[in-house]
Each structure stands twice: as structure tokens, then as C-alpha cells.
């Protein structure tokens, strides 16, 4: 454990190696290792999410690169395990879990287990996905946790989000691939979700479901073999035996009732089919192997088009001289398998061009391919043989050698007709140097020495001469030849044989010495030689069966197609055997899922997902077909997605959102979602009539932001200057409905005189460029002692410039001006914690102003601080934020204004304002500072 653990002090060997890549953590900030860790600790302890996140990312990167992070261990566990796992930001929760689960130290197993369990029931599917990823990590760290982890897997398998599906199946495959029973209840759901899962998840799920189907359904091809015998045999090169078996089976099965495919089996085949059009080759391959292993033969054809497998595509496998060698070999294999009586002449012509290639390995493979074609198709055997014999005069020795080997095999099939070829080859022995080829020729001559009675002894004579210089395999064949000739033609070859055997007796190679001794005893009759001597001729010159020229790719069909093990033809670690079809189908009802019962969905998030997660494609009109009744929960969901898919666009979506928003639920999370939606709705409709907008505004206001703070009144006209007319105004903080870009100013006129004041109105506004004013409707009469309130709108253009105008009565004109405090230039906006962080992230650098401050004596608790801030500026607090965060946007241009107050122990605090308009930001900081430090 310690060797591989990144936190242990011994390092995995990488420390001493030279540094090639740069450390991501050394992004120009930290100079030395020592200091870096200190800083990382500080970052972890900080209150800022961004810093924590950054620190954790760096630690993960360090661990991933095998760096020693052991001194950070306490800081990480303290922070990560205790705090961040409960962070309101889902990305932080997820990262925290990723960091925690990357620590490969057994002490923290219990903490990790807890964290995974917690995350598995997190409301964010992203965090649940991370939990699924953490499962194999913990399993490899401590396999004893398996049982508990399986429980978590079971729980996550029930998850209905596409985001989680792929990851949890991956965990399932690594931890408990044999627990097929966990899949039953989720089988239909997985089938239906499949198309919406990301590509990598699709591959894992399809491979797992292939295995599952092999255990749960019946072989669809059992009854069909009679009908389909003639078709598609070529493709299943290895099927011959199977077919035989099947025929036997069929007779027994005929009495049984006809095969009916399980609807769930059909569901899997149908739902995977569209994935053949995936851009990801791994997905296409996964579906292809699924069809290969699970589909009735008649349907396997559909994968052929995507794979380009059958005859019509023959030419797609023609080879170019620029293809990589392994591609050439594979194409050759396909061509050979596709060869039949009809196309063999075309294929052979094609092969002829390959033999001229400069790539000699490829030429050798081509010659073997010709040999295989010749064995498979009797009609062309002679043509092939002649072609190969021509190659014997090729200048390239490798080509000749390979030809000799292949010819030897072909000749074995019908030697009597080909003594001229054997003669020809006997002549070649003078020139060919490749040991394998020489050995092959010698074997041929020995085996068929009766066909070439004159040449054979002469060849032995030559070989005896060169014996000592030959390679071992050639020597063995010389002994072999000598023995065979001794048995058939001892008169001519007795001495030669003795000579060869004597040479062999003193050979350096013990194999050759052994062989010589053995053969001498066997063939040369002496007094001591036993009964075997009589049978020597039978032993040596027995009729040998013709060899089968086989594909180098055979013998691997017991592996699941497309797996690493299949490719290597050797079982890789972790390979799961593809089981054989069961004799009789297990109970299909295990896959039935009860109609979702609301009371059962105890966790709120499950319910929420139902609404929020609309699969994008898993449109299942007719798709869920036979399983519909059994799985009505899924059907409801899919029909909703159906309407979504038809692209009815924003209207229908909106209306759905609105109806949703009318539902009353106390669920806080639910609430938050809805508010966000409402907000979105608002944004969308802004272009429409104002009346409608106002209505939404009010809803919005009521639901999200209680009118903030006590409203401060300002004096516009003192009653003395106004000669009895007192005018006060305030910023009502209500949206100004006729023009949303204006700040609403509420003006209260009080007539302190004894007579009526008439015709109160505004005249001659003098405004900075861009500023606009919307006057209130003229007040005809203001009776003595009465007061009246009107609302006017001013577009301050997001500046604190005063709006100057004249206030007129029927007798007088007063020159007045309204100057807004900066906090009134904005209007609250609803942002979620996440959005807030995101937006804040966009407003860094120059747009961010940071101030440290000491809180005033009265600012004792959060409530007071919130009150002070909202009184100073028309902002709304971000719900559930960990810090005190406030958001709003400027009335005129809609720029976001984000305020964060983080408090520290002992009255210290930090104020952060992020706003694109730097002037506003600066002024706002000043105002809030003042408000808080009072």
C-alpha cells in the first residue's frame, strides 16, 4: 500500500527521475516546494471557494503525478472531509470527494466510506456521479469494504439520471460484476436511458448488458438454424461445429413450443440499434458485438452495413501500399474470409499485386492467404499452386521461403499429381538459404521420395556434404530424409545415412544427438534392436493428414468481441466471461418495476429529477412497447420528452415552467429551482408588453425579495423655501413599470399652507446627456393640509449625477435636484449560489474591489449586517450562500453588482464588490463600508 500511496513518505520511484513536464502547481506563483505547501494549506483554510477549489485541484494534480503530498494530509482531511463535503457549491463537494478518494492511505477508509455514502444521496447528480467514480478507488484501497460499497452501488444503480448511469455501471463492473441480480430492477431503465448517456458510459453499459442478456434470455438462434442454414455461413467461419450441435438440438427442441423472444431482450436490441450511428467507434463496436452475441442471425445483417463486413464491400478491403502493416494484415484476413467460388478470381488477381509489395512481412502474409484460399476453395487449388511455384523463382528469398512452406502444405493434399513441382523444389535447395524453406523442401522430398526416386538420394548426398553448416531445423530434416530414404532405398543410401547419423552423433545440439541415436536404433537392424524395428517403415512413412491452413485469428471466438482479451487472444485481468445461454429462461418478472409510488420516493431529489431530467432522445413512443405496462413510470417520462423533442420550442417550455411554478411546495430546493425559472421567464418576456412584465415582476418581487430595509426619505423642497409646500422623496425600490430602465422615485407633496396649490408639475429638466426623466402626471389640486404621493421615473444612466428640474405650481417655480445614492441605482436580482460564483468569476481583476474593514459595534450578527447592506444598496441576498452574498444589477444598463461580505473572528471583515462599472463599484464600497463600520 505504502509504495503506491501518494501520501506516504516513500515515493513511487518517480522522485529521482528527471522532471520533464512542468508541475501544474508551479504556475508561476509558488517558488519553492516548501512554500507551496504552506500556501496550499492557507488556501484550503481560506473562506473563499475559489481558493479552496484551486488548492484541491493542485493537490489532485500533485497526487496524480506521484508527488509527495503527505504533509498536506491533515489539512486536506480537516478541510475536505469536514467542511467541503457539505459545501453548498456542488462543484466543491464533488472536488472534495475526488481529492478525498485520491488519498491512498488506509487510515481514512472510514472517512472515505462516509463521504461516498453521503455523496451517493446528494441532490446534485454531478456529485452522485463523483461518488460512483470514488467507489472503485476505495475498493482498490481496501477490498474489505466491498459489501458496503455494493450497497452504495445498488443505491446509485437506481438513480434515474443519465449522468450517473455510465459511472455507476463502471463501478459495478469493477467491484461486483458477478452481482447480476442488482441489474434486474434497473434493466429496463438502463435500456431506455442508454441513448442519452454519454458515449463512454454507453460502451460500458452495453458491454455489461450483453453479459446480462446472456444469463437471462434464451438463445434466439436455437430454433432458427433450420431456416437459416444456407445463409450467412461464410461470415460465421467458426460456426460449422455449432451448427452440427444445433441440428442435434433442433430435433429435441422441435417438440418444444416455438421460441418467442423475451420483450426485454427485444427492448435491448431495439434501443441499441440507433447507436450504430454514433461518431464514436467504440460505441459502434459495442453495439456490433451486442448484436453478434445476442441477436437472431437474421438481424445481425444490420451491423454489416456499419462495419462494412460482407461481400458487397469486398473492395473496401483492398490494400494500399501506404496502409500500416497491421491494417494490411487485418484486411488480408477479411479478404481471405470473404473469398468464395464467385469472387476468388478477383481476389487472387488482387493478391497478385500484393506479392509485389516492398513490405516483405506483408508479402509473406499474402502468400499464406493464397494458401488458405487454395485449401478452402478446391477449384482454384491448381491455379494457386502454379502461381506459388512461379514465386519460387522470385529474387527475394523471403518470398520464396514462404512459398515453399505454403506449397508444402498444399502438396500434402494431393502429392501424386505434383511430382514435377516436387522436382522443381528439389532443385531449389541449391539456392534457397532460409532454413525454414530448406527444411520444408527436405521434408517434402523425404515424404514423397517414392515420387522422385532418382532425385531424392542425390539431394541427400548434397545435404550430407553441407550438414555441419546447416541450421538445427535443417539438420533434423536431413536426418529425417536420410531415415526415410534408408527405409525405401537402402541400397543407394545406406552409407550416406550412416555418414549423416555419425555426423549428427557428435553434433553440438543435444536434440540432434538424441534424434540421431533414436533413429539409428529404430531403422538399422542390430541384434539388440527390439520389435519396433519391424514397424519403422510404418512409423516414418505413415500417411499423414493434410494440414489445415488456419487463420491466425482463429480460436479466439470464446472471448467477447471487441474486448482486449479478444484482440490479444489471451485473457486480460478483469475480463468477464461471456456466459452461455441458459437452458431455460430465468424468471422474467424479476425485471418488473412497481409503478413508482410517491410515498416510496422518500428523498425529495428523486421527485425533483422526475421533472427536471427530461431525456433528450430517449423518446420511446412505441419503443417501450411490450414493457410499457410493466414500467409505466418510465413511459410517463418518455412521453414528456417526446413533446420536447418535437422542438415545439420555448413557448411550451415556458408554459410548463409557469404551471410548475404555481404548485405550492415548501421544499426549499424546489423553491430555488422555480425561482430561477421564473427569473428566466422574466428575462425571456422582457421584450413583450409591459403590463405582462409588470405582473411577473410583482410575482418575482413577492416571491424572492422582500422590499429591503426601511426606506429613507430625502428632502426635495423645504417647506420654508417652498413657501409652505414641502416636498420629500424617496427611492421606493419598486420597479418603475412604464420604463424598466428608470429608477422609481416616490415624491410626497405636503401642502402646509392654508390655500390650495394647483397644477403641480415638472418643467425644464436639465439633465446630463443620456439621462431621461418621466414626469408624474400633473396634480391638479392639492388641498390645504393635504399630502399626495406620486411616482416619477429617472434614468440616471447608472451615475450619481443629479437630475435637475423645476417643480412648478400654479404660482411658483422651484429649482430642485435629485441625486441618488449609489445604492439606489440598482435593483435586486436573483442569483443562485452557483450563478453568483460564476458571475463573480467573470468579474475579476479591475472589476473587483476588495476592502478590509472592522465591523461596527452594532454589527454583531449576520442579521444586522444583512440589514445594513440591503439598506445601503438595493440588493438581494443570495439564498443559502455560505458567505453573505448580495446580488443586483444596475437599473439602467443591467450590469451585475455583486457584493460579498465575509466576516472573521474578532470583528474583522472583508468586503468584495464585483461590478463592471468601476465607478459604481468604488462608490458602493465606500457606502457599504460606512454602513458597516458605524
Amino acid at each position: 500500500m505504502s509504495a503506491s500511496s501518494a501520501f506516504s513518505d516513500e515515493k513511487g520511484g518517480s522522485a529521482s527521475e528527471p522532471e520533464y513536464g512542468h508541475d501544474p502547481a508551479s504556475g508561476g506563483i509558488f517558488s519553492s516546494d516548501y512554500k507551496r505547501h504552506d500556501d496550499l494549506k492557507e488556501m484550503l483554510d481560506s473562506n473563499k471557494d475559489s481558493l479552496k477549489l484551486e488548492a484541491m485541484k493542485r493537490i489532485v494534480a500533485m497526487i496524480a503525478r506521484g508527488k509527495n503530498a503527505s504533509d498536506l494530509f491533515p489539512a486536506v482531511v480537516k478541510n475536505v472531509a469536514c467542511k467541503n463535503i457539505e459545501d453548498p457549491n456542488q462543484l466543491i463537494r464533488a472536488s472534495a470527494l475526488r481529492v478525498l478518494s485520491s488519498i491512498r492511505v488506509t487510515i481514512i477508509v472510514p472517512i472515505m466510506m462516509l463521504a461516498i455514502k453521503e455523496a451517493a444521496s446528494d441532490m446534485s447528480p454531478y456529485v452522485r456521479k463523483t461518488a460512483a467514480h470514488a467507489i472503485p478507488k476505495l475498493h482498490s484501497l481496501d477490498p474489505e469494504q466491498k459489501d458496503q460499497l455494493i450497497e452504495v452501488i445498488e443505491k446509485l444503480l437506481a438513480d434515474k439520471t443519465t449522468l450517473v448511469a455510465g459511472s455507476v455501471v463502471m463501478a459495478f463492473e469493477e467491484v461486483c460484476p458477478d452481482r447480476i441480480d442488482l441489474i434486474h430492477k434497473n434493466y429496463r431503465k438502463l435500456c431506455n436511458l442508454l441513448i442519452d448517456v454519454e458515449e463512454w458510459g454507453q460502451v460500458v453499459i452495453i458491454n455489461m448488458l450483453t453479459r446480462y442478456a446472456r444469463t437471462q434470455f434464451l438463445n434466439p438462434n436455437v430454433n432458427e438454424s433450420l431456416l437459416e442454414e444456407s445463409s450467412e455461413k461464410a461470415f460465421y467461419a467458426s460456426d460449422d461445429e455449432e451448427d452440427e450441435d444445433k441440428k442435434a438440438e433442433v430435433t429435441t427442441l422441435e417438440k418444444r413450443k416455438p421460441y418467442v423472444m423475451d420483450p426485454d431482450h427485444r427492448l435491448l436490441l431495439r434501443n441499441t440499434k440507433p447507436l450504430l450511428q454514433s461518431r464514436n467507434a467504440a460505441v459502434v463496436m459495442a453495439v456490433a458485438q451486442l448484436y453478434f452475441h445476442l441477436a437472431p442471425k437474421a438481424e445481425v445483417g444490420i451491423i454489416a452495413k456499419a462495419l462494412g463486413m460482407f461481400e458487397p464491400y469486398l473492395k473496401s478491403f483492398y490494400i494500399r501500399s501506404t496502409d500500416p502493416t497491421q491494417i494490411k494484415i487485418l484486411k488480408l484476413e477479411v479478404l481471405t474470409n470473404l473469398a468464395n467460388e464467385a469472387n476468388i478470381s478477383t481476389i487472387l488477381r488482387e493478391f497478385q499485386t500484393y506479392i509485389k509489395s516492398m513490405d516483405k512481412d506483408f508479402v509473406a502474409a499474402s502468400i499464406q492467404a493464397i494458401g488458405r484460399c487454395a485449401t478452402n476453395i478446391g477449384e482454384v487449388r491448381d491455379t494457386c499452386l502454379n502461381g506459388l511455384v512461379q514465386l519460387l523463382s522470385n529474387r527475394d528469398e523471403l518470398v520464396v521461403a514462404e512459398s515453399v512452406v505454403v506449397i508444402k502444405k498444399l502438396l500434402q493434399m494431393q502429392p501424386e499429381q505434383h511430382s514435377d513441382i516436387i522436382k522443381h523444389m528439389a532443385k531449389l535447395i541449391d539456392n534457397i538459404q532460409v532454413p525454414m524453406a530448406r527444411a520444408s523442401i527436405l521434408w517434402l522430398i523425404g515424404e514423397y521420395c517414392e515420387h522422385v526416386p532418382k532425385i531424392a538420394p542425390d539431394v541427400l548426398r548434397k545435404m550430407a556434404k553441407s550438414f555441419t553448416n546447416e541450421e538445427d531445423i535443417v539438420k533434423l530434416q536431413i536426418i529425417n530424409l536420410a531415415a526415410k530414404l534408408y527405409l525405401t532405398n537402402s541400397k543407394q543410401t545406406k552409407l550416406l545415412t550412416q555418414y549423416v547419423l555419425n555426423l549428427a552423433k557428435y553434433d553440438q545440439n543435444y536434440d540432434i544427438r538424441d534424434r540421431a541415436r533414436f533413429i539409428r536404433q529404430l531403422i538399422v537392424p542390430t541384434d539388440k534392436s527390439g520389435a519396433l524395428n519391424k514397424y519403422a517403415k510404418k512409423l516414418f512413412l505413415a500417411l499423414k493428414p493434410a494440414p489445415v491452413l488456419e487463420s491466425p485469428f482463429k480460436d479466439r471466438d470464446h472471448f467477447q468481441l471487441g474486448s482486449l482479451s479478444h484482440l490479444l487472444n489471451a485473457k486480460a485481468a478483469g475480463y468477464q466471461e461471456l456466459p452461455d445461454w441458459p437452458e431455460s429462461a430465468p424468471d422474467p418478472s424479476v425485471r418488473n418495476v412497481e409503478i413508482p409510488d410517491w410515498s416510496k420516493c422518500s428523498s425529495r431529489k428523486d421527485r425533483k429529477e422526475k421533472k427536471v431530467e427530461k431525456p433528450f432522445y430517449s423518446d420511446s413512443e412505441g419503443e417501450s412497447g411490450p414493457t410499457e405496462s410493466a414500467d409505466s413510470g418510465n413511459c410517463g417520462e418518455s412521453s414528456a420528452s417526446g413533446s420536447d423533442e418535437s422542438g415545439s420550442g420555448s413557448e411550451s417550455e415556458e408554459s410548463r415552467e409557469e404551471t410548475e411554478s404555481e404548485e405550492e411546495e415548501e421544499d426549499e430546493e424546489e423553491e430555488k429551482k422555480k425561482r430561477k425559472k421564473l427569473d428566466k421567464t422574466k428575462a425571456k418576456k422582457q421584450a413583450e408588453e409591459s403590463a405582462e412584465r409588470c405582473a411577473i415582476h410583482t410575482i418575482h418581487q413577492i416571491r424572492t425579495i422582500a422590499p429591503s430595509g426601511s426606506i429613507k426619505m430625502y428632502e426635495l423642497l423645504h417647506r420654508i423655501t417652498g413657501e409652505g409646500l414641502a416636498v420629500e422623496y424617496c427611492f421606493s425600490r419598486q420597479p418603475f413599470s412604464p420604463d424598466p430602465n428608470m429608477v422609481a422615485v416616490q415624491i410626497q407633496f405636503t401642502n402646509n399652507t392654508n390655500s390650495e396649490t394647483k397644477n403641480l408639475h415638472i418643467e425644464d429638466p436639465r439633465l446630463q446627456s443620456g439621462m431621461r426623466i418621466r414626469e408624474f402626471a400633473e396634480i391638479d389640486v392639492l388641498a390645504a393640509g393635504e399630502s399626495v404621493t406620486v411616482v416619477m421615473g429617472i434614468d440616471f444612466c447608472d451615475s450619481t449625477q443629479a437630475a435637475n428640474f423645476q417643480l412648478c405650481t400654479h404660482t411658483r417655480k422651484f429649482f430642485v435636484s435629485i441625486q441618488p445614492p449609489v445604492g439606489e441605482l440598482m435593483t435586486p436580482t436573483f442569483l443562485t449560489e452557483n450563478n453568483f460564483k460564476k458571475e463573480q468569476g467573470k468579474l475579476m481583476g479591475m472589476n473587483e474591489i476588495l476592502e478590509k474593514l472592522t465591523l461596527g459595534e452594532k454589527c454583531v450578527n449576520e442579521h444586522v449586517i444583512v440589514e445594513r447592506v440591503t439598506a445601503t444598496a438595493n440588493l438581494s441576498r443570495v439564498p443559502c450562500g455560505s458567505d453573505k452574498e448580495f446580488a443586483g444589477k444596475t437599473v439602467s444598463s443591467g450590469c451585475l453588482v455583486l457584493v460579498t461580505v465575509t466576516t472573521k473572528e474578532g470583528g474583522g471583515a472583508q468586503l468584495t464588490v464585483n461590478c463592471e462599472k468601476m465607478v459604481i463599484g468604488t462608490m458602493l464600497v465606500k457606502d457599504i463600508l460606512q454602513a458597516l463600520s458605524q
Binding site: 500511496s5 501544474p24 456521479k129 463496436m285 432522445y617 460564476k838
Partner: protein, 418 residues
């Protein structure tokens, strides 16, 4: 699944390593180097190499070997596809995927690799999601980052990660809304000595660059969709509608992406835009040979053939070439034995011709066979299959986007046997 990744350049230098589980010593790459040496050409390295304790699955792209280390069963294509995705992501982020750009952006490279795999299993591979998590480098940002010490790592979960349209980020806004589609077709062909087509097919892709605000829902239709029978789509395409109506309906990712690829097989007649007349012969005596290549237009549909290049991999015994070209320039590299004739634009009035003599290593036997010619060409404003985009409609958004379609035909694996 994927344990580690090593990046190795053409010279055999290991310049980047990344481990998602425990550290695997880089000595594991020795097995790769061995195979690399044996293969001679980088393309010939077997994609899966078995070592005593690990499996190495590699791809070769942009002169870089992406070598991944596997310990347990996994579909090899899964890994290969993932490695290609890594290379594409680098290309997307840095403009090109090369050793230099990877070294220059090493911080982002590690951040990307960290997000793309978790414990060896792919986590976020969609470009739109990654770009929200890790912002691509710009000069300004890297300057700001150096000064302020901040990084490129995003602080919030990408909206796409949770939506059921994970490939598109939310809140996209553009002042100019535009959508461009490039129909790129490559002709894969083998012509025999006499110029007859042994085999020809078209590999087509439609690359898109979509910069549209909001959540546009696009429908692309063709004049002649029946041409396409073997297609594969970006996950955003609604397969059902393709099946039933033969239109491509999708909510596009933001930015550049490949909408679909298709394959028009040998069954349909594939037009061959040029003909090649060639005569290469080596003499039994005198250690010399002759070469004569002429190229002319065949079925060009009235368009001009551009960027015409003929490449010949000569047999090893060819020492030098003394040729003269009526058009363009030629170059023979005696080390790689590659003769390259860059013709440029094909002028139908004056057909280009390259001829002259080759000198061979004296004493060596004359080459058995003639080298084949590889052709490269480009035809603008033409999809050789005749595929035509009919129209592009947008739903779900109110503005009027600017739309454009471009056609290009190129030679893919276009080989003339001699």
C-alpha cells in the same frame, strides 16, 4: 481503466506523463520503444502492445505517440477513441496539437487531463463543458493570470454537465449570429496500371462552425439525401428524424464541431477527377531507370483541380532522380526515398508532365516492382458525390442568423498502382 498516459515525440523523447491512479514507472515505455524500433515507420507500431504487467495502447497523431497504460480488460477501441479525443481537445484549445504547444501550455494540459479522466474513467470530454471548466488560453488571460496568480480553472459546474444537452453551454450570446457548414469529401481510390478504377469510395464529413445565441434548434436538409446510406452523427443529432425524414435536426454545440460523417461506397459510381499516365521502368543493365508521369483532368465537373501533388515512394536502390517538370517543382529525398512532385493548379490546356532518368545503386539487382503513386488534390466548391445542402432552418430563436455552406473535394487515400 486508463492508468497513465505518456506523450512521446517522433525522436523517442518522453515529454509528458500523467497518472490517474498510482504512478507507473516510465520504464514501462521501454516495451513501446522496442516495438517502435521494430516497426520502422511510426504508422506500423501495433496499437496494442502487451507487456508482462500492463497493456500499452497507443495512437500516433501529429507526430506524437499517445501511449496509455492499461492494467485490466477494457475495449481497446474505447481507449483509442479517448486518446483521439484528447488530441482533438488539445487542437481545439491550442490551435494545433504539437509538442511545442503542449509544452507551452503544460498547465492547461494537466488541468484538461485531470478533468477528462477521473480514476481512469472519462469524466468530461465534451469541448463545451471543458471550456467552461477550464478556459482556453488567450494572451490577455495568461498575462492577467501571471500577475494576479489566478488560474484558468472555472469555479462553477458547467451548465452543460447537468443538462440533458451536455454538449451545449448555456447563455451563449453573439452579436453576429452565424452558422457555417463545410462539406468536405475525400476520394479514396485505387487505380490500376492502365488507369481503370479498381476501387473508389467517398468519405465525407460535414464540419460546422455555429455561433448562435441562445438555444437554436437547427434543421439541415439535403437536395439528395438518398446518396447517404452509411452515416454517423454527432450526439446532438436526432437520429429518429433522420430515419423518418432524412433531415438533420439538432441543437448544435457552440463553436466548431463535426456534425456528421458519411461514406459513399464503391457501389455508387464515384467520379475520378483526374487521370494519370505513367511509365516507370528500371533497366537490367546500367543501373538506371526511366520515369514519365503525366496528369490530366477527367471528371472535374467544370471545376479547377488545385494543390495537385504526386508522391512516389521509390525502391531503396534508387539513388537520385534527374527529371524535368513542365509544371511545378519536384524533389527527391534520397534518405526517405520519396519523390514529391508539387504541381499546383491543373491547367487543362497545358498538361503537366514529369520525365527523366533515375539512377540506381550500381551492382544492386533491379527492383522487382514499380512504386505506386499517391495523389493529393483539392477541388473547391465541389462535393464530388453531388451532395447538396438544400436549406438550413432555425427554430427556437427569433433573430435571423447568417448561414453559409462550403464544398471541398480532396483526395484521401488516392493511389495509382504501376
Amino acid at each position: 481503466m486508463i492508468h497513465s498516459l505518456f506523450l512521446i515525440n517522433n525522436a523517442g523523447d518522453l515529454f509528458l506523463e500523467k497518472h490517474w491512479k498510482s504512478v507507473i514507472s516510465r520504464s514501462v515505455c521501454d516495451y513501446f520503444f522496442e516495438a517502435r524500433e521494430k516497426a520502422v515507420e511510426p504508422d506500423n507500431v501495433p496499437p496494442v502492445i502487451r507487456t508482462p504487467h500492463h497493456y500499452l495502447i497507443n495512437i500516433y497523431r501529429e507526430k506524437i505517440f499517445f501511449v496509455s497504460v492499461i492494467q485490466t480488460e477494457v475495449p481497446p477501441l474505447f481507449v483509442i477513441e479517448f486518446l483521439h479525443r484528447v488530441a482533438e481537445t488539445f487542437q481545439d484549445y491550442f490551435g494545433e496539437c504539437s509538442e511545442t504547444t503542449i509544452k507551452d501550455n503544460v498547465v492547461i494540459v494537466y488541468e484538461l487531463l485531470e478533468e477528462m479522466l477521473d480514476n481512469g474513467f472519462p469524466l468530461a470530454t465534451e469541448s463545451n463543458i471543458l471550456k467552461e471548466l477550464i478556459r482556453p488560453p488567450t494572451i490577455l488571460r495568461s498575462m492577467v493570470n501571471t500577475i494576479t496568480g489566478s488560474s484558468n480553472v472555472g469555479e462553477t459546474l458547467p451548465t452543460g454537465q447537468l443538462s440533458n444537452i451536455p454538449w451545449r453551454r448555456a447563455g451563449v450570446k453573439y452579436t453576429n449570429n452565424e452558422a457555417y457548414f463545410d462539406v468536405v469529401e475525400e476520394i479514396d481510390a485505387i487505380l490500376d496500371k492502365s488507369g481503370t478504377t479498381v476501387f473508389a469510395e467517398i468519405q465525407g464529413v460535414i464540419d460546422a462552425c455555429v455561433k448562435l445565441s441562445g438555444m437554436p434548434d437547427l434543421t439541415l436538409s439535403f437536395m439528395n439525401p438518398r446518396l447517404l446510406d452509411d452515416v454517423s452523427f454527432h450526439p446532438c443529432v436526432r437520429y429518429k428524424r433522420w430515419e423518418s425524414e432524412r433531415v438533420i435536426s439538432f441543437i448544435p454545440p457552440d463553436g466548431n464541431f463535426q456534425l456528421m460523417s458519411y461514406h459513399i461506397s464503391a457501389q455508387n459510381l464515384v467520379a475520378i477527377p483526374i487521370y494519370v499516365k505513367q511509365n516507370i521502368s528500371f533497366f537490367e543493365t546500367g543501373s538506371s531507370g526511366r520515369l514519365d508521369i503525366a496528369v490530366g483532368p477527367k471528371q472535374t465537373m467544370g471545376k479547377t483541380v488545385e494543390c495537385l501533388v504526386v508522391t512516389v515512394h521509390m525502391p531503396k536502390v534508387v539513388l537520385s532522380a534527374n527529371l524535368s517538370a513542365t509544371q511545378g517543382t519536384y524533389n527527391y529525398d534520397p534518405v526517405t526515398k520519396i519523390l514529391l512532385w508539387d504541381i499546383g493548379k491543373l491547367n487543362p490546356q497545358k498538361l503537366p508532365n514529369l520525365k527523366g532518368s533515375l539512377s540506381l545503386q550500381s551492382g544492386a539487382p533491379k527492383p522487382e516492382e514499380n512504386p505506386s503513386l499517391n495523389i493529393d488534390l483539392k477541388i473547391q466548391q465541389l462535393a464530388i458525390s453531388g451532395l447538396k445542402v438544400n436549406r438550413l432552418d432555425m427554430y427556437g430563436e427569433k433573430y435571423k442568423p447568417f448561414k453559409g455552406v462550403k464544398y471541398v473535394t480532396k483526395a484521401g487515400k488516392f493511389q495509382v498502382r504501376t
